[in-house]
Symmetry: C2
Subunit: 323 residues, 2 copies
């Protein structure tokens, strides 16, 4: 940075190193809220100082860190896997729900609602160990491609959010994913993609049963979901897994409402931020009427709750790392 | 260290800094196993090298990091709390189990078995939020004293194990507690006592229900235990919470058997270690016949499974930080 220009920049945008830690963010209200918050909670001796162990930041995944349209990536994985496993499961041919998936009729498959979805999810993802399941997911991610850009799903992550993760970690935060998705699905790529260790991923879980085979411990993933980390489940997942109330939360839908609420209702300075998908050209535009990532109540209540709403179209100069 | 003496010391005991990282450990088989293991998995280019994110070490708490005799510390907390809450709960006076606790008759209280214990635990520990509960535990720990040494329980931690935690972290490991105790009880002191963050504590859990009061999110701890992190539950807790198989595990009882097994059955170099309490003079001597921390099967199978058994009497020069 040319030192002569520094006085022209908003002070919060200047870092100790002199570089902009959020180069993909346009100078707007969201970027200023982010930088002001980080400056305040890390200013030793200041009124809003938070000691590093309490600098906990939580991020939703689908639609906040990576793309979720036109359909959740994990659901695409489940459908692919049902099709791949169909030859070994001839009974599925007699089940209309599985028939629809195998035939590629997503509308008929979706007609089963949440119950149908959970049945598909269980059939596609159970019957293995957590280690085996992660290998299966990693293998799928290596070859599966998005239809719109023909990119790997792990490339459809938001560059501005990667910069937020890096900035917060550089300033002593511990970053967590708190996802409605399956915890082991997200763990399969979180470290390589986001620099977030598996133990810093909170998510929905299938029951895991211990057993023994040939004198060795086995862990067997069951087809029953035993924890749904979405909506009011997110604060529960945070309390159980992290054991500390976050001071910053990032989400994009009403499924993050209670996580944002739990985070920002704590004492002291807090940050709540909502990624608003309003960019049909570079990504997607959706909120109130979307079947995926519906955003209505959180959008309505954001102003009075002090949550920042990030306009993707206006505040992000770049959407994906490769764009 | 005098450089002239270095050749006389076992090579593994010398660190880069020149100091002994385990000064409370006598030079014996356990110390050598520890240092050899750490040297092997951190030797870049070596056959046993493990990259840092996979350097996961898990520690049981009761009897491995802190004292568990003559009775688990959390149980003492539960009994104290039942007595403290008794005036507000007059119905307890009509219940023989609670009567026994209030009267200080531990034998009668113990007669209720596990079911009775879980009932007491629920009554003593539920009805609050995770944050409130941790404050209650912190307050109790600040004043409660052990009968034998009149010390705070957080001082009855094993100095040699604190050194192991510090050594592993200095060599790029992430250290976790995997305890049969309640996760929020252990989190109340793990950071200050062991340098282990709340999110790196895995333990047994009570159900937590989300709610709303005066328009704010509440989390309510229920009297029902919904996960028991002991025995076969430990590998399940590790898989769910850590999401990666550890490469080193430390325990002291048969409740750690499956954790040790799960850890050491993984591929590559592994370390399994059992603290054997054989020192009645400086601490306690117990194993097969103990009602707390029973150690029989793990002791019998340790040799053929390659687990190190640490004789507290012979291998620890110091037991507590203040002794
Ligand atoms: Ca989302
Ligand atoms: Ca123990």
């Amino acid at each position: 940075m040319l030192l002569g220009l520094a006085p022209l920049l908003p002070s919060a945008a200047r870092t100790q190193a002199g570089g902009d830690p959020l180069p993909s963010w346009r100078d707007g209200p969201a970027k200023r809220a982010l930088l002001d918050f980080v400056a305040a909670v890390t200013a030793e001796g200041g009124p809003d100082f938070v000691r590093p162990p309490e600098r906990i930041a939580v991020f939703d995944n689908d639609g906040t860190l990576w793309m979720e349209q036109p359909i959740y990536t994990q659901l695409l994985f489940i459908l692919d896997r049902i099709r791949a496993l169909a030859p070994q499961n001839p009974v599925w041919q007699e089940d209309p729900l599985f028939q629809a998936v195998i035939a590629g009729d997503l509308r008929a498959a979706a007609a089963g609602g949440t119950a149908g979805l959970l049945r598909l999810a269980g059939a596609a993802q159970a019957g293995n160990s957590p280690e085996e399941f992660q290998r299966i997911v990693t293998g799928w991610l290596a070859t599966a491609r998005d239809h719109r850009w023909s990119r790997a799903y792990t490339q459809l992550v938001y560059q501005p959010m990667l910069e937020v993760l890096a900035l917060l970690r550089a300033r002593g935060f511990t970053t967590f994913i708190v996802s409605g998705g399956g915890v082991e699905f997200v763990r399969a790529f979180s470290e390589e993609t986001y620099g977030i260790s598996p133990h810093q991923v909170v998510g929905s879980t299938f029951a895991v049963h211990p057993g023994e085979q040939d004198g060795r411990i086995t862990l067997n993933r069951q087809p029953q979901v035993d924890f749904v980390d979405d909506g009011p489940g997110k604060p529960v997942g945070i309390a159980r897994h992290i054991g500390r109330r976050p001071i910053a939360a990032f989400g994009n839908s009403d499924g993050d409402f209670q996580m944002l609420q739990y985070t920002t209702e704590g004492p002291g300075r807090r940050l709540g931020m909502i990624v608003h998908h309003d960019d049909a050209e570079r990504e997607y535009a959706y909120d109130r009427d979307s079947h995926v990532g519906r955003l209505a109540r959180a959008l309505d209540e954001a102003p009075r709750r002090g949550w920042s709403v990030v306009s993707m179209r206006q505040e992000w100069m770049r959407v994906f790392p490769w764009s």
